[in-house]
């Protein structure tokens, strides 16, 4: 049976892409990870590597064609006519789940009673991505399941649900988990919303209908989804960044000598991440289907970047482990890649929290909408010199307005206030901020 390779989830809610180049032909024998195609989304042009090794049987797409996520791109012939085929138990019946235990935790069993053939590290990945290995067809030697097979299965959905909760997050010392789960997680009730039909605007005067651009539509869908699903709550605060601004000013020229454009944003990213470590619920996603909060033990911060095509949110990875200078350098490079349309797929996905800085355009504050499925977003407005009372006297201080919007299903107003106060405190104390304390 041939194996089909479909357009994977490109992240950021993108649902389709245009084929720019096809790099393989029928009959080619290619290695795993060899480039298959180049596709362009509204956000970036990316190369799609082959998830498996084998002989290309058929290419289903041609340059210029727009394809949806899930559409078949390339079919591979079955792995050499070895007797390996029967081992691929794609259609094998799922193992009967243990009465009370989580199936994935017990180790995925195949129809023949043997364990799913995969390395321990691959099995760990499957647990992380909630993929039931018993339902994954392995593309490795003799049907061995590779990391890419697991990722493909996770992207494809379907089978994943059975293996949920390899580890129901147990209460630890983290402040996020005040109450330990006392039973199995259950899905939240679904939210169903259908937009009512629009009136005929023509009856009141002439109108013009303009189709939405690809990116505009994506943004519209994402924002509507977020606003409809997430009960937003917004908290306002202000940080006195007079001292921090002096640090930025002091460091600006020496940094520029090293080719780094030092900005306030990189310090804010540092402050946010330091605060996120202490307030993990804001670095999370709610899984309503499971009735679980997914606490992310990684800190990838999205930073909203305005481009001439619209708003794009590239992602800076592992911000927690990086000094401010590195953040500044990476942020500049990332923003440039995005503006030039050269961002890689991984530049655009996997964010855990978003920061948006609208200060350049003025304003005194904005209420942002959460970048679904994250839990919170922080907006910065323009910092201004303001009269502030200090020790009974009015002094001019540079005040930065901050707006934190977060998911009220996950956190309460007091939690938001504490988290925002932590960010403010860090911004007001550059020493603490730089020490990451």
């Amino acid at each position: 049976m041939p194996r089909d390779f479909t357009l994977p989830d490109l992240g950021e809610g993108l649902t389709e892409a245009e084929i720019v180049k096809v790099l393989v032909r029928a009959g080619d024998v290619i290695a795993e990870d060899a480039p298959l195609l180049e596709v362009e989304t509204d956000k970036a042009q990316v190369e799609i590597p082959s998830p498996m090794a084998g002989r290309v049987e058929r290419v289903h797409v041609q340059p210029g064609q727009t394809v949806k996520v899930g559409a078949v791109l390339v079919s591979f012939a079955d792995a050499a006519a070895s007797p390996a085929a029967p081992a691929r138990a794609a259609a094998a019946p799922k193992p009967a789940p243990a009465a009370t235990a989580a199936p994935a935790a017990a180790g995925a069993r195949r129809a023949d009673g043997g364990p799913a053939p995969a390395a321990p590290s691959t099995r760990r990945l499957a647990r992380e991505l909630k993929v039931d290995l018993a339902t994954v067809a392995g593309s490795g030697p003799g049907g061995r399941i590779t990391d890419d097979d697991v990722r493909a299965a996770a992207g494809g959905g379907g089978s994943a649900a059975t293996s949920r909760a390899a580890a129901t997050p147990a209460a630890s010392g983290a402040p996020a988990e005040r109450t330990a789960p006392t039973g199995p997680a259950r899905p939240l009730a679904p939210v169903g919303l259908q937009p009512p039909p629009l009136p005929r605007f023509e009856q009141w005067g002439p109108v013009e209908r303009v189709p939405l651009s690809h990116l505009r539509r994506t943004i519209a869908e994402r924002m509507a989804l977020s606003a409809a699903l997430i009960p937003h709550v917004t908290h306002f605060d202000r940080a006195d960044i007079t001292d921090l601004e002096a640090v930025v000013r002091d460091g600006f020229e020496p940094a520029r000598a090293k080719g780094i454009y030092l900005t306030l944003t990189s310090f804010v990213l540092k402050a946010v991440t330091t605060a996120l470590v202490k307030h993990p619920v804001f670095n999370a996603s709610l899984d309503p289907g499971a009735g679980e909060l997914v606490l992310k033990r990684h800190y990838h911060l999205g930073v909203a970047v305005a481009t001439d095509r619209g708003l794009i949110v590239p992602v800076l990875r592992d911000v927690d482990g990086k000094p401010v200078l590195d953040l500044a350098r990476e942020l500049a490079a990332l923003a440039q890649r995005v503006r030039e349309g050269k961002a890689a797929l991984d530049d655009l996905r996997g964010g855990t929290f978003t920061v948006t800085n609208i200060g350049a355009l003025g304003g005194t504050g904005a209420i942002p909408i959460i970048n679904y499925p994250e839990v919170a977003i922080l907006a910065l407005a323009r910092a201004r010199l303001e009269p502030v009372v200090r020790a009974g006297a009015i002094v001019p201080r540079l005040m930065l307005p901050l707006t934190l919007t977060f998911d009220h299903r996950v956190a309460d107003g007091a939690d938001g206030a504490r988290f925002a106060a932590e960010i403010v405190a860090l911004l007001e104390s550059p020493g603490r901020l730089l020490l990451g304390l």
């Binding site: 180790g107 043997g114 364990p115 099995r123 647990r127 992380e128 061995r144 390899a166 630890s172 988990e177």
Partner: protein
């Protein structure tokens, strides 16, 4: 009832300081959880270090040295009959082996800030543990890990005594009895039987089943069976002990004939989980009919705050299984997606020759209806075995017929316990026979047998 007025709060309390318990506690500490160990003997290492794996291996090393010296005669080297002095032997075992390792563990615990409390832990519900002993106190925990291990099982109707020993007593080597009766042909009976035979005892072994090491493929047992056939005075298979009692300074045993007299008896008929008296009935954790605590694939009991690992959760009762489970549980408690999903738990019998296996045995694979291919490499064809004067070994592979994937490995011969690591790596990682066959193995080594056997599977 004595109640401590001291109430402590910790993230994790571990009940039992054996290999499972300390592995769990150390990993918890690494993951930032405040962790406390409550141990009935106030020590780390458990039965494994103090009255099990480690002291028995120390004694087996002594037996091995004696056996090698004897074998040297064939090579033209004569050492003369061994003179065994028990006091220095016991001192070496207790101080240089067990003592040194125990000190090392205590040092690790200090460095990781894991406190060890001496006392018996008794649960009082799903959140607190009462500690009875020299420092009575109550510990409120976020999570608890039960790692109380196992203890030697007694023979029904037999009263243990000074001369009717369990493995713990036998490891103390109170003396070298002239006539020793070993009840049980499992790994404990065989290991200790060989120790005493090497020290000079006439050993009689009685086993209820029809073969030694019940459950292990007979071809893997054969080299060991042949060796003990020579070392032991008598081996009685398919034989039940009808009566066993102390009579004066002797032991009288009846097994299908007139009573026989021995100087000591060792009862090694298995181990029992230690789940009684822990107050588990005040929690939601469930204990099955044989005393094992029921756990899921994350080693979680039916009580979501309480985990259990190691011997107290079932077979195979092996320290390294408990250690892995301990680390898994620590990660689960820390919110990581861990699971005890290991495919193999290697088993080693440290006799001479050693026997080791992992994954499915040939018999188990066939019984499960798996279509398998089996390869055997006899060490008679191994250059390294020849240079050691040991051609009695065997390397055996069980592979899935359709794919050539290795699903079981068995070894018999000197060093089998070390060699099985490669088998465990191959099976755990779902490697094919071809992968092993194409991996260069150093020549001349016993490990080549693994490669040779894999090659023969390729046809």
């Amino acid at each position: 009832m004595v109640m401590g007025d001291l109430v402590r709060e910790v993230d994790v309390v571990v009940v039992g300081g054996g290999p499972g318990g300390y592995s769990a506690a150390f990993r918890c500490a690494d993951l930032g959880l405040e962790t406390l160990i409550v141990d009935g003997d106030g020590r780390l290492g458990g039965a494994c270090l103090h009255e099990g794996c480690i002291p028995s291996k120390a004694l087996l090393h002594v037996a091995h040295v004696i056996a090698e010296a004897e074998r040297a005669r064939e090579l033209g080297v004569e050492f003369g009959p061994p003179q065994v002095a028990l006091d220095p032997l016991r001192k070496w075992k207790a101080e240089r082996v067990v003592g040194k390792l125990a000190k090392g563990l205590a040092g690790v615990a200090r460095a990781k800030k894991v406190e060890v409390v001496n006392g018996c832990g008794v649960f009082e519900g799903s959140r607190s543990l009462r500690v009875e002993g020299e420092a009575p106190q109550t510990i409120r925990f976020g999570h608890a890990i039960v790692a109380t291990g196992s203890e030697p099982a007694a023979l029904p109707g037999v009263t243990p005594g000074e001369r009717i020993m369990d493995s713990t007593a036998a490891l103390e080597v109170p003396d070298v009895p002239e006539r020793l009766l070993v009840v049980g042909g499992g790994y404990i009976g065989l290991e200790l039987g060989q120790v005493y035979a090497a020290l000079g005892s006439r050993v009689t072994l009685v086993e209820m089943a029809d073969g030694l090491l019940p459950g292990v493929d007979p071809d893997l047992v054969q080299p060991l069976a042949r060796a003990v056939g020579k070392q032991f005075a008598e081996i009685r298979l398919g034989t039940r002990i009808d009566a066993l009692r102390e009579v004066g300074a002797e032991v009288e045993a009846t097994f299908g004939g007139p009573p026989a007299r021995f100087d000591r008896a060792l009862v090694a008929v298995g181990r029992r989980p230690r789940s009684a008296g822990l107050g588990l009935e005040t929690t939601r954790a469930r204990v099955d009919g044989r005393g094992f605590i029921a756990v899921d694939g994350s080693c979680r009991t039916d009580d979501p705050r309480i985990f259990a690992i190691g011997d107290v959760t079932g077979e195979p009762m092996l320290a390294h299984r408990a250690m892995r489970q301990g680390k898994v549980v620590a990660e689960v408690i820390a919110g990581r997606p861990a699971a005890f999903d290991n495919v193999v738990v290697p088993a080693v019998v440290f006799t001479d020759p050693e026997v080791a296996w992992c994954g499915l045995s040939e018999a188990a694979a066939r019984a499960a209806g798996r279509e398998v291919k089996v390869a055997r490499f006899a060490w008679a064809a191994s250059g390294r075995a020849a240079t050691l004067g040991r051609a009695d070994g065997l390397t055996k592979l069980v592979a899935e017929a359709a794919t050539g994937r290795l699903i079981g490995v068995g070894l018999a011969g000197p060093g089998a316990g070390e060699l099985i690591a490669e088998g465990a790596l191959a099976v755990e990682n779902a490697l094919l026979a071809e992968d092993v066959a194409a991996t260069i193995h150093a020549h001349p080594t016993l490990s080549e047998g693994f490669m040779e056997a894999a090659e023969s599977l390729l046809g």
